[in-house]
Symmetry: C2
Subunit: 347 residues, 2 copies
């Protein structure tokens, strides 16, 4: 037995992962091109083609509240978040496996609904669900693995950003966090006012949809291939822009300056921030689970992209300049390396 | 919302999986050679090579009791059970991902110990752990995915058995269940007699080892390749021989007759059954988690195998003859399609 007991929240997730890697001690494997440091691992399958693989688990009471998460959406989201990690390598998703942990209070019909969501997502992403595992559990648990493919030369890592690159993001950001805020608020109201309370979620349709059923950006990656554009660096937004930009900078040996005024934010996300009298830039920078793609590429390549498909939000700089954000008012402040807190810590 | 609520235990695991498959509705994918019906899914990666992929989760309070499961063993076992599924396709394991759910009461040092076990297993099986996911959870959860490779012509499915094939098993059976019996008994004693109780597990070293740290049979599959032997049908023993033989028979359209007197049972497994005044054949036929390989092949091929590596335990028959066992006393009885019950149901 070990005498020392260090709580995990004392070292944090990233230091924990570093300690895991130290124990594994980076085994030599000539076929493995990327491992734990990126959105997905990359391994060679023949001369010039690679597969990428990623696993993410969604666990009840940590990642979702069953009251607000219809089973269809849960299935859809579980596949989407893993497909997003495959896309974040500039690879196309192909196969998936599902490990399902089922507590007593989940019915056969609920499992069927979950699988309808998985099937819907599999169709949307052209993924084949090839296998799985079903077991008992105390809390509903859904661990999904997705395998994708790419040409070895087309894979984009977190580490490829260069000073002078433009930092871009697809879609809009902060909406999934706004959706979470609304749902947590409604849950509190239900708890305070009892079961007779009727939540009115209609005005928040967009942000709730972004939280419950995010759509991974497959068409963007397909469009890049069609236009023969390859970003220098790429990551998906699961923990929030601030956290992801820090990952890009750390892996690439760069700094970054984000212009907050350029962050793409949906009108409904603004409305939610106003409703809670909060700063919408905080949602956009630190909210998680948008599953947009954050990428860098040289200024000259911008014109090759579909202008509707992205927003330029900043510039990659020398590492010595750190990671900063210029606020809409003009002042430049360091961007903290903090991100999304899961459901359970929200209360 | 769905009006019907059917508890899962009312339909059982296999009917549930059938209903999942019905929802997924067997998408066409020319590259997928086998899916949910086998130990692992099989997909083509180039002209004549395939990958196989399998996912299995180990969940605290369902699959293991942390009091009796040192973290190193848990890591070792989690990889072993998945490697065993890859071997059960006659494929060699190559890559693994780990999705880890950590409750508050797991320390950094415990995670490091878990990873030492994973590393130990990865070295034993020549597997590279390429990635993972770490998240909060209410119960310790470990979902492992293993990807293996094989020549397309070398893959062995559950469905290939033919009447007249000899049914064989590697190693010995029932030991993991005997180990579980001992540990549950000791746990009850601890609960009855309080924390001062000192369990004496020394006489049960072998069976406990088989329960806590099963070793998947990689050398057997390597040896088959070296001898150019390919079984007709193959499955690993996770739920017990009875259950696995039924799977082979269902998928192959065969019957089977097992000779109980030939079942390979370790002396210590006999001792445990005697201690609890139970029938050791029940352990051997219905105990689970042995992670031995159960396979069929024509009589003529038996002499090509290393005679130390297997035991012939029966014969595949016509489907009309059903699945039966000849007891040591000589009477032939139908073999029920029941298997291993997880930890939680044992009490």
């Amino acid at each position: 037995m070990n005498d020392t007991y260090t709580p995990i929240n004392e070292v944090g997730e990233f230091a924990l992962i570093d300690r895991m890697k130290a124990v594994l001690d980076a085994p030599e494997d000539a076929d493995v091109l990327a491992g734990i440091d990126d959105d997905a691992a990359v391994y060679r399958i023949d001369g010039d083609r690679v597969h990428v693989v990623t696993t993410d688990a969604l666990i009840e009471a940590v990642h979702f509240d069953r009251v607000f998460m219809p089973m269809e959406y849960l299935g859809f989201k579980a596949l989407s978040v893993n497909v997003s990690d495959v896309l974040a390598m500039n690879a196309l998703p192909r196969f998936a496996t599902i490990a399902l942990g089922l507590p007593d209070n989940v019915s056969v019909e609920m499992v069927e609904a979950l699988y309808r969501g998985l099937k819907h997502a599999a169709s949307a992403y052209d993924v084949t669900i090839v296998g799985g595992d079903t077991t008992a559990a105390r809390f509903l648990t859904l661990a999904v693995t997705v395998i994708g493919e790419a040409g070895e030369q087309n894979v984009v890592y977190r580490s490829g950003a260069q000073p002078g690159d433009v930092l871009c993001v697809t879609g809009d950001v902060g909406a999934a966090y706004a959706g979470l805020k609304v749902m947590l608020d409604q849950r509190r109201a239900m708890q305070d006012e009892g079961t007779a309370y009727q939540p009115n979620l209609e005005p928040f349709h967009y942000v709730i949809q972004r939280q419950l059923a995010p759509l991974a950006r497959l068409p963007i990656v397909q469009d890049w291939a069609a236009r023969a554009v390859r970003p220098h660096a790429l990551i998906d937004i699961s923990d929030g822009i601030a956290s992801e930009v820090h990952h890009l900078c750390t892996q690439s040996g760069c700094g970054a300056l984000i212009h907050a005024a350029t962050l793409p934010i949906a009108p409904e996300t603004h409305s939610v921030a106003d409703l809670f009298a909060e700063d919408v830039d905080t949602y956009a920078l630190f909210g998680g689970e948008d599953y947009e793609l954050l990428f860098t590429l040289p200024d000259d390549d911008l014109e090759k992209l579909d202008p509707e498909s992205f927003t330029a939000i900043g510039l990659m700089t020398e590492a010595s300049e750190g990671v900063s954000v210029q606020m809409p008012e003009g002042d430049i402040i360091p961007l903290p390396f903090t991100g999304y807190q899961h459901f359970e810590e929200e209360e």
